[in-house]
């Protein structure tokens, strides 16, 4: 439980941090809330030579609204997201997802950027960002690029981020009228991580039909994903119990499902269906629609 020796940096601003990642790249780890990195280092599953603590970079903290989007700084804690009035009003799904993470201590330390960069297969934000069609902004000395959430998650603990990049912010489009979103999660009882987490977002259109729908899934596979076949089954249709049941039954279709001591692959598939239906029901209700 003692990490290997490392050199520690605490840059005061983004430029300084970017220079450090440029220089040390592969051999360095950024330290945000530390709630994923430090356990790995203590178990020596990770032994970086350099640890770059970005916690002091003020500019990466906080939530603001800009051009119809919520912009969330990478260092914003789960607690800040969960309790932000702005997030609650503009994007309840995201606040719900944040509120479901771990326990109070974890939410007080863990950050949006750390969670997304770490890409734990059972983390909550990835599902939410997929359903919200958010953009994840990566910055290097050379400049910034916005990566669509749909392209960001590559594999188990693997994202599009390069070693010389820092995840600086996340941009979440604010939904318009007749839209609703919800996050529903079954917890792994020890850690609080998702055994299954489902983020659902719908917009209703003419004739009460589903105009657009996005379903983000976590806990089920090596990385978070969009349940495309389920979305297709719903698009353009009028929501009802039968349709939701059928669509929810397809959320793990074509997916290589994870199984572990907390839930076999079969159990996860069964529960994913139930939670997808519950998330969709809640999202539709929030959009002002009916499912019964």
């Amino acid at each position: 439980m003692i990490p290997a020796a490392f050199e520690y940096f605490a840059p005061k601003n983004l430029d300084e941090a970017l220079r450090l990642v440029e220089r040390h790249g592969d051999e360095a780890k950024l330290l945000a809330g530390g709630h994923s990195l430090l356990p790995l280092m203590k178990l020596r599953l990770s032994a970086p030579r350099y640890v770059i603590d970005i916690g002091r970079i003020r500019a990466l903290h906080g939530v603001r609204e800009e051009d119809g989007r919520l912009v969330i700084g990478a260092l914003t804690t789960h607690h800040d997201v969960e309790s932000s009035e702005l997030v609650r009003q503009r994007c309840l799904l995201l606040a719900e997802a944040a509120a479901e993470i771990g326990d109070v201590q974890v939410r007080n330390r863990g950050t949006v950027g750390g969670s997304l960069a770490h890409a734990d297969p059972a983390a909550d934000y990835p599902a939410a960002m997929l359903a919200l069609e958010a953009e994840i902004v990566a910055t290097s000395s050379g400049g910034s690029r916005a990566i669509p959430a749909g392209e960001f998650f590559v594999d188990l603990l693997t994202t599009q981020l390069r070693p010389d990049e820092i995840l600086t912010e996340v941009r979440v489009p604010v939904a318009g009228r007749r839209s609703g979103g919800a996050y529903r999660k079954l917890h792994q009882p020890a850690s609080g991580f998702a055994l299954v987490g489902v983020a659902a977002r719908v917009r209703l259109g003419e004739g009460e039909k589903i105009e657009s729908v996005a379903i983000g899934m976590t806990g089920v596979a090596a990385h978070a994903y969009r349940a495309a076949t389920a979305e297709q089954a719903l698009a353009g249709k009028k929501p009802g119990a039968k349709l939701l049941g059928e669509a929810a039954g397809r959320v793990t279709e074509g997916v290589d499902t994870l199984g572990d001591m907390h839930g076999s692959a079969g159990y996860r598939r069964a529960v994913a269906t139930v939670y997808a239906r519950r998330a969709l029901e809640a999202a539709i209700a929030r959009a002002g629609g009916k499912t019964a």
Partner: protein, 767 residues
């Protein structure tokens, strides 16, 4: 007994303030000048011959002061005299992943850690045994050469005649129950500071429940007389049985300290705590039960296999408890028990809260409900019809002196609304009922002797402060407070006047330790005797001065007064000063040994199970089951516990709630998951301990049967309520959704599978 002033009152524990404010000192909080940090190297193989251990590079590392291997301490030991099969560091073989192979002491934890990496061990891996049912068929590669077929011990008991019993029954049921392995998960990880004193003595501060046994073992392994070793127990942050044996770090720290001639501290990481373990074993219970139409139990037969892990530990005791305590809860005329303690290449199991009884009780109380359903009887009514007629002695020789079970059952039935709720709570909701019992200490000591199990001394000197010296070990259960209450009550003083010195082998007389719920009954009785003795010493001179009998006097409110209110009135301080004339400091002693009649029968294994008295418990649990996911939520628990007399109702409530909480954890979520001898969940991120968030309202009802031999009538309160919680939950799930789960933990996955199987069966039936 007249009105009491301290006993029976809700009193905050004497160490509560220190614990809550963080000022209390646990073993790991201690440090002394020149202290080294110890670490232990563990085997990565489940079963391997050790060809050699090369420590040269580790010894050469700057800052390393001592390195030890099996050769430094070859004396075998174990908690039971019949099970000395452990060495602090393996000599020839490693028998589980995590077995202890070498140890280092260095000037910093980092250097110690680094030194471990420099030790080269040449292992020759051997075939390993993981499944107890397979292991007990082993023809070769036995884990201990002397234990044929990897069977540590087997016992076969038969009282009455079960064949006749089953023949008289109208309903006979057989089933198999499986309980996964669970561990204590005390908040405080084990920690030991061993100090090599300048005068060539050894002082060991350790997080232990059994300072006396540790003292003996250190003497044997360190090859030093007990008189040169001192064991001190600081505050202990929970034991639950996990600190009731000698744990390798305690010996390793001592061996290193002796070798380095420096103080050495070792504190386990959480992962090491999980591998040190000694918890509740995987248990397979094949149970058969017969009842008449009227609901009288005619016979019970159990075959119990326990997966003991790689060393003996308390194993034989664990399996014997599982058989012995099939008795003494209900009146069962015919009982047969076949018990097997099997060795496997996993960490040793041992004592855990409710030692031995919990898994057998889960099977038994589940089956009572199954057979009640078969016979069309209300499960509570079935239990009512099988009560003992106490006082009595059971067929296997257990003497029941007080029996509050009937009252427990009635009060729980009433408070829980059993009659109105069973089968009527609506979709997905149910209520379940179960009972349990436990010993108030073992009537026979682990190491047979005719000495008392505990001795308590009391001293009063010129300050008129009362100092109590007791070897009993406070581990969070309220042992210290109990002593203070008893002395304050008998001597009629405020508790603040009483100071306790406890669990320090240099200062306090021997107490056998905190296990099998023995402390209140045994140390409590010794303390009561010492206090009465002291009382006589104080009252004698007062009576002489006032020319009356000591029987005419009483001690209350810090004064000595006449019982009839006439004449005598003297302050406690004055009375003490009077008693010291010509005597000096007042010293009193009290002891306790269980009476001969309590010590049980004469057959092989008869020594385990007998106790001077038994506690009783009944519980009703309400659950909500999500039929779509199989999730079970425990919503309300009503638990009645017969503890004889509640010396401190506050701590009794706490003990009952804690027991129920632990039972609930085992019932629905906790399990150690093994793969080829490797623990898959050695951390609180993966081991599913419930938190306060999952813990329901637990309403504790105290039943006082006033045991004739307990101190003020008190008996066990800390363990007995655990066992009932598990079957009560299983029975509630059955009431809620109609599925009977016989495997623990009752995970959502198991519930969902059972629900699906039931739906299939019903569809099939409808066709």
């Amino acid at each position: 007994m007249g009105e009491m002033n301290v006993i029976g009152k809700r009193m905050a524990m004497t160490d509560a303030r220190a614990k809550v404010t963080g000022l209390g000192r646990y073993a790991d909080d201690l440090s002394v000048p020149g202290m080294l940090y110890g670490r232990i190297l563990h085997s990565p193989h489940p079963h391997a011959r050790i060809r050699s251990v090369d420590t040269l590079a580790a010894e050469a590392l700057e800052g390393v002061k001592a390195v030890a291997t099996g050769r430094d301490a070859p004396t075998p030991y174990g908690i039971l005299p019949i099970g000395h099969d452990e060495r602090v560091l393996a000599l020839d073989k490693a028998r589980y992943i995590g077995d202890n192979v070498a140890a280092v002491a260095a000037t910093s934890p980092e250097i110690a850690e680094e030194a471990l990496r420099l030790i080269r061990v040449d292992y020759e891996p051997l075939p390993a045994w993981f499944d107890p049912l397979e292991s007990m068929k082993a023809e070769e590669n036995w884990i201990h050469e002397k234990r044929a077929h990897n069977i540590e011990k087997e016992y076969h008991h038969h009282f009455g005649n079960v064949d006749e019993g089953f023949a008289q029954a109208d309903f006979v049921l057989e089933d198999r129950y499986y309980c996964g392995e669970v561990t204590h998960a005390a908040m405080e990880p084990h920690s030991t500071l061993a100090v090599w004193e300048p005068n060539e003595r050894l002082t060991v501060y350790s997080s232990t429940q059994v300072p006396f046994y540790l003292h003996r073992t250190l003497s044997a392994v360190c090859e030093m007389p007990m008189s040169r070793i001192r064991v001190v127990k600081p505050l202990v942050g929970g034991g639950f049985g996990g600190k009731s044996e000698i744990i390798p770090l305690e010996v390793a720290a001592s061996v290193l300290a002796k070798k380095a001639r420096r103080p050495v501290k070792i504190t386990y990481t959480r992962e090491e705590v999980f591998y040190a373990h000694r918890g509740r074993p995987i248990t397979i219970v094949d149970l058969k039960l017969g009842i008449t139409k009227e609901g009288r139990i005619t016979a019970a037969q159990a075959r119990i296999v326990q997966d003991g892990g790689a060393y003996c530990g308390y194993g034989p005791v664990t399996v014997l408890y599982s058989g012995a305590l099939l008795n003494a809860l209900y009146d069962i005329p015919n009982v047969k028990f076949d018990g097997f303690r099997v060795l496997t290449n996993k960490p040793a199991c041992g004592a855990m809260r409710g030692h031995g009884t919990v898994n057998a009780r889960f099977a038994f109380e589940s089956m009572l409900d199954q057979i009640a359903a078969r016979a069309g009887l209300d499960p509570v009514e079935l239990r009512r019809r099988n009560l003992l007629k106490a006082p009595c002695t059971t067929p296997n020789g257990l003497r029941v002196t007080s029996y509050g079970l009937p009252e427990c059952i009635e009060r729980v039935a009433e408070r829980s609304g059993w009659a109105e709720k069973r089968g009527k709570l609506g979709k997905g909701r149910g209520i379940g009922f179960a009972c349990s019992h436990y010993v108030s200490g073992a009537a026979n000591p682990i190491i047979r002797s005719n000495m008392p199990h505990t001795t308590v001394n009391i001293k009063i000197d010129r300050d008129a402060g009362i100092t109590v010296y007791s070897g009993a070990s406070e581990i969070g259960q309220g042992s210290d407070t109990m002593h203070v209450q008893i002395v304050a009550e008998v001597l009629g003083v405020r508790p603040e006047r009483v100071n306790l010195v406890a669990a320090d082998t240099e200062l306090t007389p021997v107490d056998l330790g905190s296990y099998s719920s023995r402390v209140t009954f045994m140390a409590g009785n010794a303390c009561l005797n010492a206090a009465r003795n002291m009382r006589a010493q104080i009252l004698g001179p007062v009576a002489r001065q006032f020319d009356c009998e000591t029987d005419d006097l009483e001690m209350r409110d810090e004064t000595i007064v006449s019982k009839n209110g006439a004449g005598v009135s003297m302050s406690f301080d004055d009375a003490v000063a009077l008693a010291m004339v010509g005597e000096g400091a007042l010293v009193a002693k009290g002891t306790y040994a269980p009476p001969e009649q309590a010590r049980g029968g004469k057959f092989k294994g008869a020594g385990v199970g007998p106790s001077p008295s038994y506690s009783y418990s009944a519980q009703a649990v309400e659950v909500k089951v999500d039929r779509e996911t199989g999730q079970v939520k425990v919503e309300r628990v009503v638990a009645a516990h017969d503890c004889g007399r509640a010396l401190n109702p506050l701590t009794v409530d706490g003990q009952v709630q804690g027991s129920v909480y632990m039972g609930m954890g085992q019932a629905v979520q906790e399990e150690m998951v093994w793969r080829e001898g490797r623990l898959m969940n050695p951390s609180f991120l993966e081991y599913r301990l419930p938190t306060t968030l999952e813990t329901p309202q637990i309403e504790s009802i105290i039943v006082e049967s006033i045991d004739p031999e307990g101190p003020f009538g008190a008996k066990e309160a800390g363990e007995g309520s655990l066992a009932a919680a598990i079957p009560a939950i299983a029975n509630a799930i059955y009431d809620a959704v109609g599925v009977r789960i016989t495997d623990v933990p009752i995970t959502p996955e198991r519930v969902l599978a059972a629900l699906r199987a039931k739906e299939e069966a019903e569809k099939g039936g409808a066709r």
